[in-house]
């Protein structure tokens, strides 16, 4: 993992603000193929994450990688977040971390 650049907390809607940059988000996996995973972001958007996911994959997975466009991420790091995760909590965090409190994170 490239540890030198910080990753912005994003949900589906915020991804477009960070295209080309390092982001992190949690998705709920809806489909997984070799080479890519489709999932629902914490704010309900469909996202595609390309890369090699770990196997087995839990329901929620955090991905850290580079945003390719407003609905896809090329993942560098995958972390299984288990099957019970508070998505709305995380979603609120994304909104706060991109709002007036950005300076605490990026």
């Amino acid at each position: 993992m490239d540890t030198s650049s910080p990753a912005a907390f994003v949900n589906g809607g915020l991804l477009r603000m960070h295209v080309g940059r390092k982001v992190r988000t949690v998705i709920q996996v809806t489909r997984s193929d070799a080479g890519s995973v489709m999932g629902k972001s914490t704010d309900g958007c469909q996202l595609v994450v390309r890369g090699s996911p770990p196997a087995p994959l839990t329901s929620y997975v955090e991905v850290i990688g580079v945003a390719e466009n407003e609905s896809s991420i090329r993942a560098e790091l995958w972390t299984n977040f288990g099957d019970s995760f508070d998505a709305s909590n995380y979603d609120q965090l994304c909104q706060l971390a991109n709002g007036e409190l950005k300076h605490l994170f990026l």
Binding site: M1, R24, Y60, G82, F85, N89, L93, L96, A97, F105
Partner: protein, 275 residues
């Protein structure tokens, strides 16, 4: 404190997270001078906050005006160097990375260290110079929670603490958050923090006279969402959100209207005056 209110301070108060706990309602806390109690508290931080500190080059460590000695970090281990007397590892929390050192004095320490591996999420407690303990994370909601705590403490330190030391009467002592039935606690924090400040400074004498439901209704109407709506809020909605009977709410709103604190827009819709 009213039964329905969500006291953010109490929610985060466990484990000494909030600075100057002496001024809060917890009765069993002895009252230290503020410098002492700050140094005893554990502050959640992001690595970015720590990096900003060292850029400024302060020797007495403080964040947002609060002396910080003990900190909590949550992140992923990206590197481990295990030596005989100590273990150095790198923690990356997405906002940057920081080197941490754990001194190994006893067998217990080395057992702790063996459990940690690269790529694992951990929560780290320690002092800015050295790290005392860390444990692996199993519930990943902890990660979001940690960052939300960082945000809360930051807002508390920058917005509410200055007000608290300036306030002359006891009403402003508690950074209370009004009833948030919607379950959207976090949004409630950032908005209510601001409105409570303005509220308490301008309307102190009014608030002393208006008790119970009135202050709850007022706080509800002062929410940004309510202020922004042209039509105002109907008394039904207020009653439902505050969990109070519609009758009581209507009576309260009538009273507030007669005091000039709210006004009616259309039938049964109310807005806070002087938004």
């Amino acid at each position: 404190m009213q039964a329905n209110e969500f006291d953010g301070n109490a929610a985060f108060a466990g484990g000494g997270f909030m600075p100057s706990q002496a001024t809060q309602t917890a009765p069993d806390r002895p009252s230290y001078s503020s410098k002492n109690s700050d140094a005893r508290c554990l502050t959640p931080v992001t690595v970015k906050q720590l990096k900003d500190l060292s850029k400024v080059g302060e020797s007495g460590i403080s964040i947002d005006g609060v002396d910080v000695n003990n900190i909590v970090l949550v992140g992923v281990i990206s590197k481990i160097d295990n030596a005989v007397s100590d273990c150095t590892f790198r923690v990356d929390d997405g906002t940057g990375w920081v080197e941490c050192t754990k001194w190994i004095h006893e067998h217990v320490d080395s057992v702790e260290v063996d459990v940690i591996s690269v790529g694992m999420y951990v929560r780290v407690y320690g002092q800015f110079k050295s790290i005392q303990s860390r444990r692996p994370i199993t519930d990943f909601n902890e990660i979001a929670h940690h960052f939300l705590e960082c945000i809360y403490v930051h807002l508390y330190n920058t917005k509410l603490r200055p007000r608290m030391t300036n306030a002359t009467d006891g009403m402003t002592a508690q950074p209370q958050v009004a009833n948030s039935n919607s379950g959207n606690h976090i949004m409630g924090f950032s908005h209510q923090t601001n409105s409570t400040n303005q509220f308490s400074n301008q309307y102190n004498t009014d608030e002393e006279q208006i008790r119970g439901i009135s202050s709850m209704v007022l706080q509800y109407l002062r929410r940004p969402a309510c202020l922004a709506s042209e039509m105002g809020v109907s008394s039904d909605i207020v009653a439902r959100e505050l969990n109070v009977s519609v009758d009581k709410v209507r009576k309260t709103l009538d009273f507030l209207a007669s005091e000039g604190l709210v006004y009616t827009t259309t039938d049964d819709h109310y807005k806070f005056t002087d938004a």
